[in-house]
Symmetry: C2
Subunit: 244 residues, 2 copies
Amino acid sequence: MQFMNTHCTAWHGEGKCLACDGKENAFFAGLTHEEVSAVHVQIDNVSYSHGETIYLHGAPAETLLVIRTGAVKLVRYPNGDAMQRIVRVVKPVDVVGVDAMLAGTIQHHAVAVGEVRGCRIPLPVVSKLCMQYPDFQWNLMRQLQSSLKETEQWLVDLTCGSVPARERMARLLLRLRDGDSNRIYHFSLKDLRAMLCVTVETVSRVITEFSSLGLLVRTGKHSEQFFTADIAALERVAAGEIPA
Amino acid sequence: MQFMNTHCTAWHGEGKCLACDGKENAFFAGLTHEEVSAVHVQIDNVSYSHGETIYLHGAPAETLLVIRTGAVKLVRYPNGDAMQRIVRVVKPVDVVGVDAMLAGTIQHHAVAVGEVRGCRIPLPVVSKLCMQYPDFQWNLMRQLQSSLKETEQWLVDLTCGSVPARERMARLLLRLRDGDSNRIYHFSLKDLRAMLCVTVETVSRVITEFSSLGLLVRTGKHSEQFFTADIAALERVAAGEIPA
DNA sequence: CGCTAGCTTGAGAGAGTTCAAGAATCGTGG
DNA sequence: CCACGATTCTTGAACTCTCTCAAGCTAGCG
């Protein structure tokens, strides 16, 4: 297993942090420009390559990560069992680590999917801001709420045993899109298995079927791989409109 | 379908709110006694009978409910489908509605299981407190974080298709205990089905099997019904140590 | 008393697992 | 640059758990 920051490159507080300045749903919404500038110097601009471990489950919580590019999978292990499950996938411009901040320790393994770039903010800075600016804290709390909602929907849509694997796979792929494009983040069969809770063999069969039906085209080689999807068709499969 | 407050009884701000005064994990932790007293008059002491709907999905969020006795099931409907799923069960002394406060609308159907008593607090009061006392808001955010954690664990433990239904049922029952007792909140087979995502028939077979093995004894009649469980044995089943 | 909703029980069918073997791909080091 | 082992992915066949369908039972309620 890789440990955090193995290859992670970081450079200190640049003037511009795209995820933070003036965007909608921005992390620092509720703070004035001067207030933001004051903490800007403490923010690291970091990047992780595909497969790198960003946070290690159980480690002390020290930073927050605002995702700018790529995706991050959050892995949780069931009580004492070996079977790992991916419980959430974080995409831009969401934040990883709010739960860790509150719990004191990291709550999942967090692993990079694709090239991940983001802003890393020390927790002391964040919690201080929380105490100084209730609006800022409120904003953070909303982040948490949307994570909860996302997880609940994940649970309802993806883990229902009686819904055919093909249908659940379609729903899953639609959630793993890169923004609104027709490209889908590359996850390994093992990852997909950990999300849908089926065997790798079943995942392979379903993906193969989708490919042969033209719903999915594989582009790029392996770790750089993207699926290109026929979104409309996937949506029909997800709704159960396309039988076998 | 029942609507909120159909039979709900409420009486206004008594001097004592057991869930609020001086308990650990208390809702008002972080506030002084005087500050708590100031809002006390705005708190309703409410109770709901088994099966009553407490919150209605999609309705405007107006109050928070701190549970003192009984349990509350949170039901979510998948996209346009008829199949309902229970995504969380809230037990004393947790809070229902923090997510609704942040989202603006109620996020699930909330239905009483057993006799539910609790303190109902108007949201304007809560959000005002959040803005005034960052510590209080922080406390609320921790509530949300623990809901998230609970939901993720729920997902991992209970919804894995490849784990036999018997095993998942045992895990589920262990989560539905009344505190640390060996009594288990009474949920209908339909409810259990909505949590494990299996058919009612399968639920019935598993419960019957547990009963005949002496892991479960039914006491009380119907809507007052409790299961009494052999916790240690259930834990062994949950861990997969007892085959068939 | 009969009606309805909830629960039980049985037999057959199907989706996904398990087991097993083989193909493709990647990284590494000679 | 190629050979090597290690992953990752693919494919097949038998098995098994759960679903489906169908019928009967029980309990509560008007």
